[in-house]
């Protein structure tokens, strides 16, 4: 069986390498992409959309169907992780452990026992609980605001520099993942509830598709942001630039929520307990 697999893999690889012979040479000025598309994007992007970063304009304006369904794929990935992994326990375990944060004492609450009052002094822990490292906790607490600020900058500055909604969303999601790793999943889930994740990820997709549909309602093609000129009170070229920003925000929101959602389900095997 192993030999057959090897033969198939080698044959497929050889066929793929044989297929690359037909490719145009690297940076060949006579290739079809360089004769029609690239010159148009390089010469016309600035006057058509007033976006200096051509990659952003191509991703979110000229090829916006592609990006819209990419966002949908990410949302579907999050939903699939949720459906496959999430476990809803109807019954709470009999004994629950609570830790008094100030003294470090752990108390065990038997079934039917009185739960500590809902204050910040007690935190729920599992039997596998290990103490947080003070250095890691403090450094991450200092770092996370700056990471989030950088994520917002990447989304907002995508017109002028590398980056955009996708990268900024991943950075924003990674800051919450860092919180979950440096402390525990319960702390992170308290900051970003499961319902918020589940609501924000379709909201991002909705912002994207809704912007496109709004252009359709205003009388132009789907995703032709120059239709937004009458709503935003700007000229059509600036409207395309603003449309790209709105769409990037949608992508960022969807990606951030989905990344956190997948991490929560994956690291706790769907139980939403202590996490990694």
């Amino acid at each position: 069986m192993k030999i057959i697999g090897l033969i198939i893999a080698v044959l497929t690889g050889a066929l793929l390498i044989y297929g690359t012979v037909d490719f145009p040479g690297w940076a060949d000025p006579a290739s079809p992409a360089s004769t029609h598309l690239s010159p148009h994007f390089i010469e016309k992007t600035m006057e058509e959309t007033s976006v200096p970063n051509i990659v952003t304009a191509v991703l979110a304006d000229y090829r916006s169907y592609d990006t819209m369904f990419e966002t949908t794929v990410i949302f579907s990935g999050g939903v699939v992780c949720f459906i496959l992994l999430r476990i809803f326990r109807r019954k709470e375990p009999e004994d629950r452990l609570y830790r008094h944060v100030l003294t470090g004492a752990t108390i065990r609450v038997k079934e039917g026992g009185k739960i500590p009052p809902d204050s910040d002094d007690f935190e729920r822990i599992d039997t596998l609980w290990t103490p947080h490292d003070l250095i890691i906790k403090t450094v991450c607490r200092l770092l996370i605001p700056f990471i989030q600020l950088f994520g917002l900058y990447v989304i907002a500055h995508g017109h002028h520099s590398p980056g955009g909604g996708f990268q900024g969303g991943v950075i924003l999601g990674a800051s919450i993942m860092l919180l979950a790793i440096s402390q525990d999943l319960r702390t992170a889930v308290q900051r970003m509830r499961e319902k918020v994740d589940a609501l924000l990820s379709p909201t991002g997709v909705f912002i994207y598709a809704g912007t496109g549909a709004l252009c359709l309602l205003l009388g132009l093609n789907f995703m032709d942001y120059s239709a937004l000129a009458s709503v935003l009170y700007v000229d059509p070229v600036t409207a395309r630039s603003h449309g790209i920003l709105i769409v990037e925000i949608g992508v960022g929101v969807a990606v951030m929520a989905t990344i956190i959602w997948i991490y929560n389900n994956l690291s706790s095997a769907g139980k939403y307990d202590e996490g990694l």
Binding site: N53, V55, T56, L59, P162, G163, G164, F166, Q167, V170, I171, G173, A174, M177, I181, I259, I262, Y263, L266, S267, S268, A269, L276
Partner: protein
């Protein structure tokens, strides 16, 4: 494009890729995938595709490595084959 740097990074990409599929320890494979992604990110930026390189750094080397580690932590660290 400096060809010595290019060659060194390409060699590391191949080594990390082969290592990731041969190593028995799945946690090691996850980390090797992270290294592979990071080297690919360097390659993209050498070729001038800064946006792709940024995505590769944040998604490939950052988020997906954490997902791999989380999955290994919740399942088993040893491969069966």
């Amino acid at each position: 494009m400096i060809w010595q740097l290019d060659l060194a990074i390409l060699t590391l990409v191949v080594i990390a890729g082969i290592g990731a599929i041969t190593v028995k320890d799945l946690l090691g494979a996850a980390i090797l995938f992270g290294a592979y992604s990071f080297m690919m990110c360097l390659l993209w930026s050498i070729m001038g595709a800064v946006d792709v390189s940024f995505t590769e750094a944040s998604v490939g080397a950052g988020a997906s490595t954490v997902f791999f580690v989380a999955a290994v932590f919740r399942t088993t660290r040893r491969t069966k084959d």
